[in-house]
Each structure stands twice: as C-alpha cells, then as structure tokens.
C-alpha cells in the first residue's frame, strides 16, 4: 500500500515543530528557521494572509526526477517515498531541471555537492512508523496514512466545511498525482503552488520518444546498409562495364 501525507493548512498553527523534528531525524544543520527551501532543510513552514503553509517534496506517484536521472540515483519506493543515493549521483542536476515543483536543492558552495530533498523518512516508513513531521504535529495538520484513505478524508473535509476550504485537493491529479496532498483556505497559486500543471504523468512525455529508439536503430541500420550496398554495386558495375568495353576495344584494335 502506498503511504502519503495529508497537509491541512487550515489546522496549522505555525509551531514549526515539524521543521525542528525533521532536522533532528535527518541530521540536518539546525540553523535558524529558513524562509525558503534550501540544501539545509527538507521542509519549511511559511505564512501568507494569516494562514501557515508548508513546502516539501511532493513525492509524485510518477516522479519526473526518478525518470530523468541517468544513473538511477533517485528511486520511487513501493511505500511511497522518493529517495536519493548520493553515492550514485554524478551531479548533472537534470532532476532539478525536470521537477515541476522545483524541489531538489543543491549544495552550490561545496566543492563536491549533492542533491538535498525530503526523503519522507523512508527508514521510519519502512518500519511502519509515520514520518517525523506527522508524528510530531500537535494539531493534526500533517497526517500520515494510506493515500486512498487520506484522499477520502480530504474530500470529506471539503464537503463538511465548504466555506473553510478551497474546493481542491492539491496533489490529487497534478502531474499524475502525488503522495503529498494539501488542503488550503486560500487559493494555492497565492501560496506559490502552480495550479497550471499538466495532469499527464511527465515521464510519459519522454517515454513515448524513448520507446521508439529500438525501431529507429533497426530500420535505420537496414536502410543505410541497403543504400550503401546499392550505391557500391552500381559503382562497381559501372567500373566493370568500363573495363569490359575497354578490353573489347583493345581486342577490336588488335583484330583490325
């Protein structure tokens, strides 16, 4: 069963316990609270119009970052988290480029940098525990569970309190769905979340092209080989023709 997080921003009181406990769990440098995602943190709590909200990796169901990584340094695990192997990474940053939410961050100041992003506490999830942020959240603004179940809860909340919520579960359909779902009282685009994202799974866009490659190679090889054979044969025939006509001429000359 794929696990997920439901972030209900209307219940967030901005205590930033999730930030703190996340840093502890993942051995992050616990500096002063940041005002944006960077390589020192995996999540941030921000405020806009009297509402707190959180930014973190969305853990897409069909992640673009995983599909584009040339060395398979990113992986979507069965449980839901998208995890990262720094030892495999060669630092091409195609994941940063491809991510529709601009989540992966880079250690630009280090001579040997790696990618930093939330890994949804995959060790804890594997052991059957909730993520650190969900475990510590005092108000239930961050809830951990099965994705289908959380989606059900989210829709029920919108139905019961239609005046409190924007009628949208962010992450339900965006880029084919994500493992982090969000509810908000103010429109998501005002919080800096893109609502114009396509609903197609992004890896499909390159996948359709990549699947044609074996065909291109085989037909191309046969076509080019054929062309070269034909041209060669024509030239050698021409040569032969010239030589035979020459020798015939010589014979005629001799005869005469």
């Amino acid at each position: 069963m794929s696990k997920a997080l439901l972030l209900d921003f209307t219940r967030c009181v901005g205590c930033q316990a999730c930030e703190e406990y996340c840093a502890k769990e993942n051995n992050l440098p616990s500096d002063a609270p940041d005002d944006k995602l960077n390589y020192k943190n995996f999540t941030v709590v921000l405020k806009r119009n009297h509402q707190y909200f959180r930014k973190m990796c969305m853990h897409c169901l069909h992640p673009a970052c995983v599909s584009v990584c040339p060395v398979a340094a990113l992986e979507k695990t069965e449980n839901g988290p998208v995890i990262y192997y720094p030892s495999k990474c060669m630092g091409c940053r195609y994941c940063m480029m491809a991510c529709p939410f601009q989540i992966p961050k880079y250690e630009w100041d280090k001579p040997i940098p790696v990618i930093r992003k939330c890994i949804m506490c995959h060790q804890r999830v594997k052991e059957g525990l909730p993520t650190a942020c969900a475990w510590v959240c005092p108000t239930g603004a961050c809830r951990f569970g099965d994705r289908e179940y959380l989606l059900e809860i989210a829709h029920k909340r919108i139905l019961t309190f239609p005046n409190r919520y924007v009628h949208k579960v962010y992450g339900e359909t965006e880029v084919g769905g994500t493992s982090v779902l969000m509810l908000s009282s103010i429109p998501f685009e005002e919080l800096g979340f893109r609502t114009d994202l396509p609903e197609v799974e992004l890896p499909e866009l390159t996948g359709t092209v990549l699947r044609r490659i074996p065909n291109v190679v085989i037909t191309g090889a046969i076509l080019l080989g054929g062309i070269s054979w034909l041209v060669n044969r024509r030239m050698s025939l021409e040569q032969e023709h010239k030589e035979t006509s020459r020798s015939e001429k010589r014979k005629k000359d001799k005869d005469s």
């Binding site: 040339p70 060395v71 060669m90 529709p100 280090k110 040997i112």
Partner: protein, 402 residues
Amino acid sequence: MFQTVVSFLRTEIRGMSTFRKIRWIIYLLIIIQGIYLTIVRFTKGLGATTNLSDEFPWGFWIAFDVVSGVALAAGGFTLCFLVYLIGYHKFHSVVRATVLTAFLGYALVAVGLLYDLGKYYNVWHPVIMWNHHSVMFEVAWCVMLYLTVLFLEFLPVVLEKFKFHRLLKFMQRATIPLVIAGILLSTLHQSSLGSVFLIVPEKLHPIWYTPMLPLMFYLSAIVVGPAMVIVESTFSAKAFHRSLEKPVLVELAGFLLIALIIYIGVKLQDFYIRDAFKEFFTGSFESIHGLLEMTFFIVPVILLGLKKLRQNPRWIFFSAFLVVVGVVYNRFNVCWIGMLRQSNANYYPSYSEIAISLFLVTIGTMAFYFIARFFPIFPEHEHEETTNHEHQTVPLKMVETT
C-alpha cells in the same frame, strides 16, 4: 626531443608577422586564465564560479559547451553520409577536416561536461548504473560510443602518417560499418538532446516547447552540418594559406539551402499546428528572441536563394555563418531564454563561465591547428598542381602543333 621542440618553436615565432604574434599572445592569456579558473572551479565548487542557483540549475555551460557543442559537431555525420554512403565524392577533400572537427568538438563537449557536473569523477556511472527511462542516459551512451566511432574514423589519418599499412587496410575496410554506426548514433543523440526538454512542458516557453522538439533538434543539426563545414574550411583556408575550392563550397551551399528550406518548413508547420504564431507578436521578452532567431534562418535562405550570391564564396561564408549563429541562438533560447520566466530566476552567465567556455574553444581550435599541420588532413595542394600542370602543358601542345 626537448631541443627539437624548442628549435621548432623558435623558427615558428620567427616566421610570424606582428599581427599573428599579438593573436597568439591573446590565445596564451586566455589559456592561462582558463587554467586558473579551472583550479578555482574544482577546488571551490560551482557556487564560486557560476551564477547558477536552485531556481536555475542549468546555465551557460550546458547551453553552449554541451547542447550547442554537439549541434556544431554535426558536420561529421552529414558529410560522412554524403561521401561514404551515397558516393558523393566531390566532398572528399573536406571530409577529413570535418571528421577531425567533429572529434575535437565531441571531446570538448565531454570536457565541458566535466566542468558542469557536480561529482565529475562519477561521469562514468551511466556505464554500469542503468536507467533506460532517462533521455540523459541514452545521450550519455550515444556520445560515449560516437566519440569512439569518430576516433576510429579519424584513425586512418594517423596510421597513414606513421605508415602502418596493414592496420590501415583493415581500418579502411571497416569504414562503411563505422559510418553507418556514426549516423545512427548521431541521429539518436542529436534528436535526444531535444527530448531532454520534453519533460518540462510547464517551464519552457510555448515558442520553443513542442512535442516535435526531438525532430527540430535533429533537423537543425543537419542544417548546421554543411554550414559548419563551410565556415570551418573558410577559416582553415586562411590559416593554412590554401586556396578555397570554390566548386565544393558552391555544392555545400546548395545542400545548406535545401536543408534550411526543409527545416523552416517543418518549423512553420509546427507553429501552425500548435497555433503558436500569436506568441511571436506579444512583444514579450521571449517573442523578441524568437523573432530574432528566425531571422538568422530566413535571411540565409534569401541570400542563398539568389543564384548570383550562391556562386560567391564570400556570401556563402556569410550565410553559413548566420546559420551557425542561428542554431546556437536556438539552443540558447531552449536552454536559457525560454526557461527564465517560469523559473523566477534572473540568470546570466558569470565572467568565469564565459571565460572557461572561451578557454575550451581556444584549446579546441589550437588542437585542430596543430593536428592539421602534422597530419595529412588536407589533400596536398591539388589546386596548385593542376594549375602548374596547365602551365607546363600549354607550351608543349603549342610545340606539338607547330
């Protein structure tokens, strides 16, 4: 060994004009600066040398060194197709120089990539860590294999120089399979560099984002192939004081014109299908760059379309140069200009980024210059010989008739 090098350099410097001396001093300064910046890049990291950020992770090095570099080295496969596969032997005199340009071009792409990779020592990882869903994985493999193919295609020149005749014969037999492999690999990775950007429909501006991106990149690579051959042979004619072979240039210009017309046709059709013409007339930052880019392709079509100009080496060079600039401009627009708006970044390359790219180009040019001097790249002054021959035969004939 050392003494021969010193005496060679001494005669070399003595033979130079002042203008040439100044030019070589500038090259030297670029190289010294490049070495210094290379040390800074690999000890202090990307943050110290580039203007890249979390919002804009790919910059000038990807746009110029890698994506444009691969496109500009496309002359290799287009010319090899014409000469070796369909027997178009008119271009035989330029094929070696073109293969050398392609080989050096790809080598520079590989070196440029090392500067850009955060963990450059893991650059070989795609060999053992496979992800066949990744376009980049495919490009990495194609470029590795194609670099090998280009090396093998160039190897006969080296073997000829050092008189390894048996190996040379064997290599010549392998020419056709190598050329076919080269064309297939080029087709794959030239188009795949376009596919790289298929995954960012939400970031790339609609003037450039199209499902046809791989086709666009492939066609423009074919366009820039003959254009680069024209530019490169004009430059090397100047550098080596050789006479330009006009019929070859005129023929190349013909091919360039055909390729250009096909490319522009496909491009216009794509704009029409996606209903993207309106994007050009919004007056936005992107629309200006889009219009400028298109002029770099349309002006050469007009110039080369006029038969008088198509016979003139100067105008041919000028049109080809415009096309080269246009293709680089197109790659810049896709990698850089078209990405700015949605990434909320204000990226422009830092001084070090440009200086290091300049350093790499200088090294490539010098490598070409020295290899061309010591290896049989150009046919040995065929033109002069024939003219001498004519001078000798004319009086002889006159003697005969009288």
